[in-house]
Amino acid sequence: MEIQDIIVSHDNTRNHLDGVSTTIQKGKITTIIGPNGCGKSTLLSVMSRNNIPISGNASLENKDLVHYKAKAFAKKLAIVYQQNDVPKDLTIEKLVSFGRLPYRTMLKRNEEEDAKAIEWALACTNLLEKRDNDLEALSGGERQRVWIAMALAQQSEILCLDEPTTYLDIYYQIELLELVKALNEEHGLTIVMVLHDINQAIRYSDQIILMKAGQIIAEGAPRNVITREVIKEVYSVEAIFNEDEQHGFYMVPLGI
């Protein structure tokens, strides 16, 4: 996906994205990080067409995003938002089956394909046994997996995740990131996500986009992007970096 000179403003007084250009590489995990209000979620929502930029353009496979029909686009890109209302009286399988909507029309649906895709989505997210449970009965981590399963049922090439770990405890955070990694490695999905935890971004990403005040400060492989100077500049936090055989590259924040 190509993003060029995107400007977005939610209130017409200040630019929430101020001339952002980048390229999302196919088959890679790209993570957008940055302080609160830096525009990372906005950038993600431009990619998913939930935000229409004032100027600039975003294109996928040489076709402007705005030129895609809604369902055609939903087959290319799926997104899981940070917070989701939990519908009452809805089984997991039923919710995941909503992900097949892009493949259905008023008169036509391919039951076999749908069943296969739903089965696959449930298997990937380890929800096969809970498929008949109500969503309300699940823990936060499991719910997040259900939303991901719904997105997977769309069988899109790109999966976007907006702060997928934010409301989870550390166990579920890691479980979720391992799932993301597996989806990328085993099923070749292109992943674009927004994370808060810098160490998680380092560990699970091929590419990092670091943002501040609506602009991209640095992007590239984690090792190249995350440095002491950049963290100081973007977050105003002093940190040291270490690398060892066992743990790889990691950051230890010291203070402000």
């Binding site: 939930n50 029909k69 809604a70 009286d89 909503f98 992900g99 892009p102 939303w147």
Partner: protein, 321 residues
């Protein structure tokens, strides 16, 4: 699953029993078997009276109840709000006012009353939407805005009647939310438009189910949220407008029936919409029959009985919110 079947069976049986009871009770009384026999007896004079007076009333009550309840389900889905009801949030009174207003000045348009009522209802619905959209359609805000809109249209209608009630006699029939003196002409209006509305509502069940998702999530599935909202809301307004035209403004049906129905058959609109239609038909028929027989020969309108039951119920729902 069995709970659904049992619920459906009970409502259908009650519906049949109440319909027969309603047809055989009142100033002309008949036993059950006498009634069944008379049904097929062309020359029975008592049956003639029942056919002309009670049958239209029963059919109108059934359809008005079904239409209002399903209208409630649709509005609740569109506004993502369990408290939406065409009567409470002013759609019905908007329909009643616009219809009354235009007919008073252009009596020639009388044959277009359902269309006029639809326009009035749509206007009120658009107002409620526009004024509570900013708060993200929060349930309480929407109800407050709706009550204000309802008060405004009811006030306008009453002013209009006080000023020029004698202007046009057809006006009073618009306002009286009483089911007496319904004719077979009323029946044909409500059956025609009601059937169209109810079938359309059922055809939209999968859209209603998708609206439980947040807008942006539904959008990301390629679902045209705004278009779906508009169409579903239009069907809801049609259903409430047609029942206003024939049966007058009856509030709270669309609140009470869907809420109880969800408890019995769940949230899936494929089951919920048909069940609500049946349960709503039952409720209004029972309300009307009680109102008609309780203090005979005096009559209490069905809308009054609904207000007496519905008011406390709304408070109960608000407390739970």
């Amino acid at each position: 699953m069995t709970k659904k079947i049992v619920s459906f069976s009970i409502v259908i049986v009650l519906l049949l029993v109440s319909a027969v009871y309603a047809a055989t009770t009142g100033s002309i009384k008949m036993g059950f078997f006498e009634f069944i026999g008379a049904l097929f007896d062309e020359g029975n004079s008592q049956m003639e009276a029942i056919r002309d007076l009670r049958f239209p009333r029963i059919i109108v009550a059934l359809f008005a109840g079904a239409a209002l309840s399903v209208s409630g389900v649709l509005l609740q889905s569109v506004m993502r709000n369990p408290l939406a009801d065409a009567g409470v949030i002013g759609i019905s009174s908007g329909a009643a006012f616009v219809q009354l207003f235009i007919i008073s000045f252009f009596p020639a348009l009388f044959f277009m009353t359902p269309v006029l009522a639809f326009m009035g209802g749509a206007f009120a619905c658009a107002l409620v939407f526009a004024l509570s959209w900013k708060s993200g359609l929060s349930p309480l805000k929407l109800i407050l805005v709706g009550i204000a809109i309802n008060a405004m249209f009811t006030g306008l209608t009453e002013t209009f009647i006080s000023l020029g009630g004698s202007l046009n006699t057809s006006a009073s029939s618009v306002i009286g939310s009483n089911l007496t003196m319904r004719t077979w002409k009323d029946v044909s209006t409500i059956v025609t438009y009601g059937t169209v509305g109810l079938i359309s509502a059922f055809a939209l069940y999968s859209w209603c189910n998708l609206l439980v998702l947040q807008d942006k999530t539904a959008k990301s599935l390629g679902f045209h949220v705004a278009r779906a909202r508009l169409i579903i809301a239009a069907v809801a307004v049609l259903l409430s407008a047609v029942s206003v035209v024939v049966a007058g403004v009856i509030s709270f049906v669309g609140l009470l029936v869907p809420h109880i129905s969800r408890r019995l058959v769940g949230h899936d609109h494929k089951v919920l919409i048909p069940f609500t239609a049946l349960a709503g038909a039952l409720l209004i028929l029972v309300a009307d029959t009680i109102g008609r027989t309780m203090a005979a020969p005096l009559e209490i309108p069905a809308s009054t009985i609904m207000a007496i039951i519905g008011g406390p119920f709304l408070i109960f729902l608000l407390r739970k919110e």
